[in-house]
Amino acid sequence: MNSKDPKANNETQGVAGHGSFFQQTDLSREEAVKATDWVRKHVDRRTVDLGDRMDDVREHMYELEKDGEIIIHRITDEHEPQTVKTLFGWEKKIPTKQLWHHKSCGQCGNIPGYPTSLMWFMNEFGYVPGKDYLDETDQTSCTAWNYHGSGIGNVESLAAVFLRNFHQAYVSGKQHGHELGHFFPLVHCGTSFGNYKEIRKYLIESAELREKVKKILGKLGRLVDGKLVIPEEIVHYSEWVHVMRNRIASELQKIDVSNIRTTTHVACHYYKMVHEDAVYDPEVLGGNRTAIITSIAQALGAQTIDYSTWYDCCGFGFRHIISEREFTRSFTMDRKIRVAREEANADVMLANDTGCVTTMDKNQWIGRAHDQNFSIPIMADVQFAALACGADPFKIVQLQWHASPCEDLVEKMGISWSQAKKNFQEYLKEVENGNIEYLYNPELAYGGQA
């Protein structure tokens, strides 16, 4: 009899079933309280007891490396890492330099202010493009948006894409005169971040999967010494912002934002997928929620205001935002925008992923059809931080691509939206004449020298 046979479980546990299969547990009140105490504790505060029951996949990864099965793309001192704590108190290294920008298709296609603000910050810190960071054309998206939306694709294809992209990150320094592993991948997208962590876990757990994708990577010439290359950590851009927050505030901040009421929406795929790897900090929100986003808002001195549906998804849904939009817009208006407006009276909602910003930013106008006449500026944490540090709202923060009323926030921060817009429109004429300003020498994107 299969171990998951309901009858078998009924006999041994006395509880199972859905509909007609349902059976009462017949627990005493004390037993029931004991059982649900455990559940309640988990819901109220993510405690270490769950961590005790969970493996740290990185330990198995190090064993595989020792056995000569894989190469780990290590974070070295050269990457100037900072150590943070994750959900269960485990340590995670966040490299701050020599980063390979792994772009997000949704951000680049729709919210380009994410990557531009991030690279702008790196330049402001004096990073040298081609040495301290690299943005190049040899990368695809993680393809997980499509997988989560359609079911077309599979673990093998996702794993092959992951390993191909991260192999490129590993070898990318060579053509710029650096050693293998010089650039460490910095993942911009929340879904890529969650997906890659999930896939890394499967790769480490399954020899069969490793064997299958090894054939593919071999055919592509993407093995090193016949081995798969797997990164020591999967790092999200908002974790870079998190560890750099005090430097951003102390070295670069130009605008006082203490009058700004911020709310946060952290991407589900940042902290709900492979949730043991998300960053938590006892000094941010009591360590009860992930520190990402809130920590940079706090460091900048902005007000961080809570709202009751902070835990809810944005309503993106992958396929839904394309072909079942009534769900996406209804959910985002009812559960996110309305609540952040009515409860928090927020000046801005800060997020750290692609789909979330798109969903919440673009779906406010249609709310008027149901007398939902309220709105909130939506942008990424890094865009807000860039504004506070004096970045141009158009040229760098690229707010022209947003539909939500970002101009209200910009004006409240003391920046003239109309003047910035006028300047940008003048700049567009320069662009038409081929006079384009760049954050790095464009040749770098094609393997050229800086």
Binding site: A35, S104, C105, Q107, G109, N146, L428
Partner: protein, 228 residues
């Protein structure tokens, strides 16, 4: 309507996925997953029900749930993060969707038809979204002012100070070599086969595109050799 044997085979394929045992660990029927599920607000969908149907091996109801319910899930994985038993209803749904495609279920074809242009973009370019897709014509519900500066799209894109982003038909510029590598991944992992099962016309269009790109890449390689 499928026969019982076909439904059993569908269930066996779900159960046969190597992720299955880690995604399904037992269920107290506490309903935390459903309470926190965005799709449950608007659809006849409950992650708890999905777990229970699989847990009780109810092959007929599993088959029924695969008609519409599994497509309601938003894949946010909130359910997985909340479940005290470490179940992942969202992860189980992902497996069920893959199996629905494998079995060429008509409901999957119907649901995915409007998603075709995203698949076309992704499989041919490696990007899932591009600036030319985010236009008022495609998204009238996003309002008349979905961006704050009017102007030619290609000029607005060139005003992004990052070279790789100055594109219109892709989110960023993907090198030809990269695209060709990606096509190999699609073929070797059965993704092209899945696509053919779902939408033969789309498959044909994509095949032609891939052939063209491969030829282009071969020509480029030859040019490089000549230069050397």
């Amino acid at each position: 309507m499928a026969t019982y044997a076909e439904m059993q085979q569908i269930y066996d394929d779900i159960r046969g996925d190597f992720r299955y045992d880690s995604e399904l660990n037992g269920c107290l029927n506490c309903g935390i997953c459903t309470a926190t599920c965005p799709a449950a607000h608007f659809y006849d969908y409950s992650p708890r029900e999905i777990v229970q149907l699989l847990w009780t091996e109810n092959v007929e109801q599993i088959y029924d749930a695969m008609q519409e319910k599994i497509w309601a899930c938003a894949q946010c994985m909130t359910c997985a993060a909340r479940c005290p038993f470490k179940n992942s209803p969202g992860g189980l749904v992902a497996i069920m969707r893959e199996v629905a495609i494998k079995h060429e279920m008509q409901s999957a074809k119907d649901v995915l038809r409007p998603f075709g242009r995203v698949m076309l973009k992704l499989i041919t370019t490696g990007n899932q979204l591009s600036p030319d897709m985010i236009q008022p014509d495609h998204f009238p519900d996003w309002g008349p002012n979905i961006q704050k500066v009017e102007g030619d799209l290609s000029v607005l894109r060139k005003a992004i100070p990052v070279k790789t982003l100055q594109t219109v038909e892709t989110a960023w510029e993907v090198s030809l070599k990269t695209s060709v590598e990606m096509y190999t991944i699609w073929e070797m992992t059965g993704v092209m086969k899945s696509l053919e099962l779902m939408d033969e016309n789309l498959f044909d269009v994509i095949e032609d595109f891939i052939d063209e790109k491969r030829e282009e890449y071969e020509e480029w390689l030859e040019e490089q050799e000549d230069e050397d």
